[in-house]
């Protein structure tokens, strides 16, 4: 939190001040004006002036143990609060260590403001010590980026960065500040508003398109809503529920859309796509009207087989990013606008669809082909574990995941009733994301239960951030679904590469209990359902962070599964059906 006195002083300052400040002081004062209460970062040579100003300023700063940890924390923070996460790194390796997190934020539309230092301008382009062209490197993975050449531009640049990061389709913005600019002095003129000529997102829908949507709904006999991350981002979960109930249209939520529509709602069909439910996939195959809301028709949903995807359907597509409309699928009714605004407007005079028979078929599919796994007395089944986490928490927790089998099992077996509860790396598929994201989420919402479900592979990519869990006493419960291997890669090698298990064996350590204890964090272990129940209760009762090593059956696979290149009609249903 900002020091109260300083923060209040700052907010009372006149827009234009007589006093001159250094670039780094200006930067921090601008951040405070933007309401930034937490910074995630790592110092170094080129950001020494910024950290010197920070020493006096008293904004909370989380000193991650790796820049990738810092940026994933900022992403977790942003996904919970909806506000831009702010991360600071030094030039060269500090900046390049942010790259994975920036690409992740770009793919999943997470608002971030990334501040990097760079070498002084007289050294730019000379391959100076710790020089990297981070503006060039991040050009394709940022919504926009800046290289600040004049300290007088800094306030405007910071203001623009926050506006661009957090409005329209959110995303990461990077500001690269050479050291001489941080040190140079100028008056602080912080603009209250900026107008950016080349940046004017459309938020309100075209009324004509809404009329077309209403007409299509009134005629539809087999309609489906495909809801994505845009529903969560725009805070449109209530509107979506009203929309689905009024039209009686069943809903499938993409990985990024999980929580945007309650997993307990009778109209919910589960997740679609590669590891989607039978009901959701077959609804997408057989629908006559598909309403995509805040989605981008990713290949993990369509399987890239656009010839089979929603083949007989008219597609309506609601998205704030016009470039998403028509990118992957042909759209009959394009609606550009903020999902919340569009749905609010669409609710006016919204007709009911003719879905009675269709809903019955979907109910039959749900009943006939539920998600299944083979229970075991001897080994701990990961699906059972996730379901147990769900049942014991009543679904009222923030769950972050890494990437792979455990991620899919959380998506399948943990039912999320509220938005901004499931935090995962969807587009980029970043291993190492889950744990630092959980720390950022806990910082953003200190009172909620935060569970990080991770794998033994992904956890090892950023487990050094256990130091932060301990130091900040962030009571995150880290559930390591430990199968001693890279489970999803192993699954593909089993199914597509005739069981040639190449370099997926992670057995041999570390001992996650001891690893946790090395950081002063509580460590627990379970190998059976009985042990799992007991240690999970112990973990929930513990006031601080806990790492629980759940040694699960290493041969378990994620089903259903659709092979890449196959259509959604070619689902492998797993053990139960074979």
């Amino acid at each position: 939190m900002p020091h109260p006195a300083i923060a209040t002083d700052d907010r009372k300052e006149k827009v234009t001040e007589q006093k001159e400040y250094t670039g780094s002081e200006i930067l921090l004062r601008c951040l405070i004006r933007e309401g930034v209460d937490t910074l995630f970062g790592y110092p170094g040579g080129a950001v020494l002036p910024i950290y010197d100003s920070l020493y006096h300023k008293g904004i909370r700063h989380i000193l991650a143990r790796h820049e990738q940890g810092a940026i994933h924390m900022a992403e977790g923070y942003a996904r919970i609060t909806g506000k831009p996460g702010v991360v600071i790194a030094t030039s060269g390796p500090g900046a390049t260590n942010l790259v994975t997190g920036i690409a992740n934020a770009q793919m999943d539309s997470i608002p971030l403001v990334c501040i990097t230092g760079n070498v002084p301008q007289n050294l730019i382009g000379t391959d100076a010590f710790q020089e990297a062209d981070i503006t060039g490197i991040t050009m394709p993975i940022t919504k926009h980026n800046y290289f600040v050449t004049d300290v007088r531009d800094l306030p405007r640049v910071v203001k623009e960065a926050f506006v661009i990061a957090s409005t329209g389709r959110p995303g990461p913005v990077l500001i690269d500040i050479p050291k001489d600019v941080s040190n140079a002095k100028a008056h602080l003129e912080y603009p209250e508003k900026v107008s950016i000529r080349g940046y004017q997102p459309t938020t309100d829908p075209h009324p004509l398109q809404l009329q077309k949507l209403h007409a299509a709904i009134a005629k539809a006999e087999r309609p489906v809503i495909l809801a994505g991350g845009g529903v969560v981002t725009s805070g449109a979960d209530q509107e979506l529920r009203d929309f689905a109930e009024r039209t009686q249209i069943p809903v499938t939520t993409t990985l990024m859309g999980i929580g945007g529509f309650s997993g307990n709602h009778p109209l919910w069909m589960g997740m679609p796509g590669m590891h989607g439910t039978y009901a959701a996939n077959h609804a997408l195959l057989e629908c006559d009207l598909l309403i995509g809301i805040g989605v981008r028709f990713d290949d993990r949903v369509t399987m890239g087989r656009l010839d089979k995807f929603a083949k007989g359907a008219k597609i309506a597509h609601i998205d704030i990013d016009p470039a998403e409309i028509g990118k992957n699928v042909d759209t009959y009714i394009p609606i550009v606008g903020d999902v919340k605004r569009v749905l609010q407007e669409a609710l006016e005079g919204l007709p009911r669809s003719r879905s009675e028979g269709w809903l019955k078929r979907i109910e039959d599919w749900k009943r006939q082909y539920p998600l299944t796994f083979r229970p075991s007395e001897k080994t701990l089944k990961p699906q059972w574990l996730i379901r147990h986490l769900y049942e014991t928490t009543g679904g009222d927790a923030i769950v972050t995941t890494d990437v792979g089998q455990h991620q899919m099992w959380v998506a399948q077996y943990f039912r999320f009733a509220k938005p901004r509860s499931f935090i995962s790396s969807g587009g980029l598929g970043t291993m190492g994301f889950g744990f630092p994201a959980a720390l950022g989420a806990q910082i953003a919402d200190p009172d909620r239960l935060v569970i990080c479900v991770t794998g033994d592979g992904g956890f090892q990519m950023t487990s050094q951030e256990l130091a932060i869990a301990a130091l900040e006493n962030l009571p995150v419960k880290v559930v390591v679904v430990n199968n001693r291997c890279l489970g999803m890669v192993r699954q593909w090698q089993e199914v597509f590469y005739q069981e040639r298990y190449s370099e997926v064996d992670l057995s041999g350590g570390p001992d996650f209990v001891k690893l946790a204890e090395a950081y002063g964090v509580k460590g627990l272990r379970a190998r059976t359902e009985e042990e799992a129940k007991r240690v999970w209760q112990e973990a929930l009762a513990h006031p601080g962070p806990v790492v629980i090593d759940f040694e699960v059956d290493p041969e378990e696979n994620v089903y259903p599964m659709v092979a890449p290149g196959s259509g959604l009609d070619e689902m492998m249903m797993g053990d139960e059906e074979t």
Binding site: T135, M139, P140, K143, I196, G198, Y199, A323
Partner: protein, 163 residues
């Protein structure tokens, strides 16, 4: 189909890199890009020649629009347009062939802009087909170097006389 896009951009460092990077990253084809000042201070006009079907062109235009430094994107292919390219060609030419080459160049309204002991330089402007045609005629004399600017273009003014 070949398209000519006229793109107004902020005259900022790296703006060409942003545009070229985007087109490359999204696997869009670039035949040529030319950049220069525009009628408005602070803005440059980029003329991009590209190929693609309707869907691709829609994506090119929408993706370009997402760049904060891009102010306006116009596909000139749907309008009457004046499109020109400038080419300089250095052709092998001794005293005996100079006049001959000058004769070839003349109907193209091209001009000889430099004469060396064993080469001459020809300057020509026009559309791509014209430049290619001249190039074919010059080829037998031995082409030493070519520099082409890429296409620049503007849409024609309205034909209707305002009443």
């Amino acid at each position: 189909m070949r398209h000519i896009l006229s793109v107004l951009v902020n005259d900022q460092p790296r703006v060409l890199a942003r545009v070229a990077n985007l087109l490359g990253r999204r696997n869009f084809n670039i035949e040529s890009i030319s950049v220069g000042e525009s009628e408005e201070p602070g803005l440059s006009r980029m003329v991009i020649v590209t190929r693609g079907d309707e869907r691709t062109m829609e994506q090119v235009s929408k993706q370009l629009h997402k760049l904060v430094d891009v102010i306006k994107v116009q596909d000139l292919s749907s309008h009457p347009v004046v499109a020109r390219e400038l080419m300089l060609v250095k052709v092998g030419a001794g005293p005996s062939t100079r006049t001959e080459i000058a004769g070839i160049v003349e109907p193209f309204r091209a001009s000889v802009v430099d004469v060396g002991s064993n080469s001459i330089m020809v300057q020509v402007t026009g559309d791509r087909e014209k430049l290619d045609a001249l190039l074919d005629l010059l080829r037998p004399y031995g082409i030493k170097e070519i520099a082409r600017t890429g296409v620049t273009a503007l849409s024609r003014g309205p034909i209707k006389v305002p009443s």
